[in-house]
Symmetry: C2
Subunit: 285 residues, 2 copies
């Protein structure tokens, strides 16, 4: 590729840039961002080659544009690039939700929507910003592509090739399948982790409590150190699937609470055993 | 110390044995356990020096007895040792709950209760068994001592010295303070993690779901791989404090759910921001 444009040079966008450069598949990487400071930082760190000034000019002859902003800002970036997208320019994204991004694409890109191939790289980290970007972030990680009926096979393949160059394994799902799955295995755990820390944060004796928190707490709450902007956007974007998951979890927790209230050791043991078996089996894979 | 007796040669008991030996503060370590196989394994691994046969004989002239069994079995072990405890033999434990263990001690040890100095080493690991034991498990970790009014200062100091020899930092709390604190920062997160995995385990599409689970899920659910026996016992032993914590968490989760239902991005952002700040601050300490 001669030129790749990255909108949002944080962990996701910056790591895509570094991964493509390491693979030797791109000549020039141009970065745009929310603030001058963040893009300048990406330049100084060598994540991008050049700070973009006029997005209209840059996306006209780019081979690929990555939208790696919080999912709540995707529509705005799509609106900015839509009138100027060259005929050979493809667009992909790094959003953790897909249904709302696809809706944004239909609304903003109009008859150019076929040039947009939605993607979700499954490479979370509680860190954010260009300084957290790594060339190997996507190596061995899954990237889910949720192609649109308007995408040509060639367009899908070109976007897959870019993610493959970063070392990722590619999977295809529909955007609704994607959002239901990630509500369960990613978005719900994030909300539960935020909720635990917030619960403790309200206590008068929180310093004492936290002074005795240990490795179990550390791992359980690692994802509560994630970006509030990003997770507000993801929660709102995947609201319906996530509400379903919270409800299912509330039922589960109420059932566990009842077993405890009844001092029903056998019921507790069964819940814990089934969970332990599934968790160990999952880790072994 | 000339002789230390370990009842329960798993992760906690085995690591205590290895830590004491490495510190050079004990001549002989005798092990008892739930099964012949587990104690034989501890012997073969060099965790203990000798497999105990008659507990009455062994605790008569031991300097220290560690009860490192699941908290649900403490009373039974106390009953076995009580009639035979020598006048200079002290007892400590490694239980994750303290109020019930203290109750067991008053009931089983009678007028020898002053020889029992309750302890809780804060060194969790999802692994269990003698094969998981490590000489450095307690190095730099907290051990909470919850002394009884019947303990002499000398008895408390001797038990502290043993844990200090393993590399631990010693803290003192009352047993009720201890249980309230650990219900919040340890027992609740364990139950929440078990509940999430159990929730997903019930789904018809659980294989698909779990195939897309990534590092956030991995860390959130690490503690769901913990021993079901141990966590059944802890849950029942600390039932009242844990029920209070589950209730508080249910209120928190309902409030978060309401914000999401109302698509209240500002409220979600506030919850996530407060949690993130507290979590990052905690990790920095």
């Amino acid at each position: 590729m001669k030129k790749v444009v990255i909108c949002g040079v944080g962990l996701i966008g910056g790591s895509f840039a570094l991964g493509l450069r390491r693979a030797g598949v791109v000549n020039e990487i141009v970065g745009f961002g929310r603030s001058v400071a963040s893009v300048q930082q990406a330049l100084q760190l060598g994540v991008i080659d050049r700070v973009g000034e006029d997005i209209a000019t840059e996306v006209r002859d780019a081979d690929l544009v990555l939208l790696a902003t919080p999912v709540g800002s995707m529509a705005e970036w799509m609106a900015r690039i839509a009138p100027h997208l060259g005929a050979n320019t493809l667009v992909t994204d790094g959003g953790s939700t897909k249904t709302n991004v696809v809706q944004d694409a239909y609304a903003q890109l109009g008859n150019k929507v076929g040039q947009f191939v939605p993607a979700h790289p499954i490479a979370g980290a509680e860190k954010s910003g260009a300084s957290a970007a790594m060339a190997d972030l996507y190596v061995g990680k899954k990237v889910v592509i949720t192609p649109l009926p308007e995408n040509s096979p060639a367009a899908v393949q070109r976007v897959k090739d870019a993610w493959l160059a970063c070392g990722a394994h590619i999977f295809e799902l529909s955007h609704t399948e994607h959002d239901a799955i990630f509500a369960a295995v990613s978005h719900l755990p994030h909300l539960l982790s935020f909720a635990l820390v917030h619960d403790l944060a309200q206590r008068d004796n929180r310093e004492l409590l936290l002074s005795f928190a240990a490795s179990g707490f550390r791992d359980f709450t690692r994802i509560a150190a994630s970006s509030p902007d990003m997770w507000r956007d993801i929660s709102l974007a995947n609201r319906d699937a996530l509400l379903n998951e919270i409800t299912a979890y509330q039922v589960e927790l109420a059932s566990l609470r009842l077993a405890l209230q009844n001092s029903d050791g056998a019921a507790l043991h069964q819940i814990f055993s089934e969970a332990q078996a599934i968790r160990r089996d999952w880790l072994g894979k």
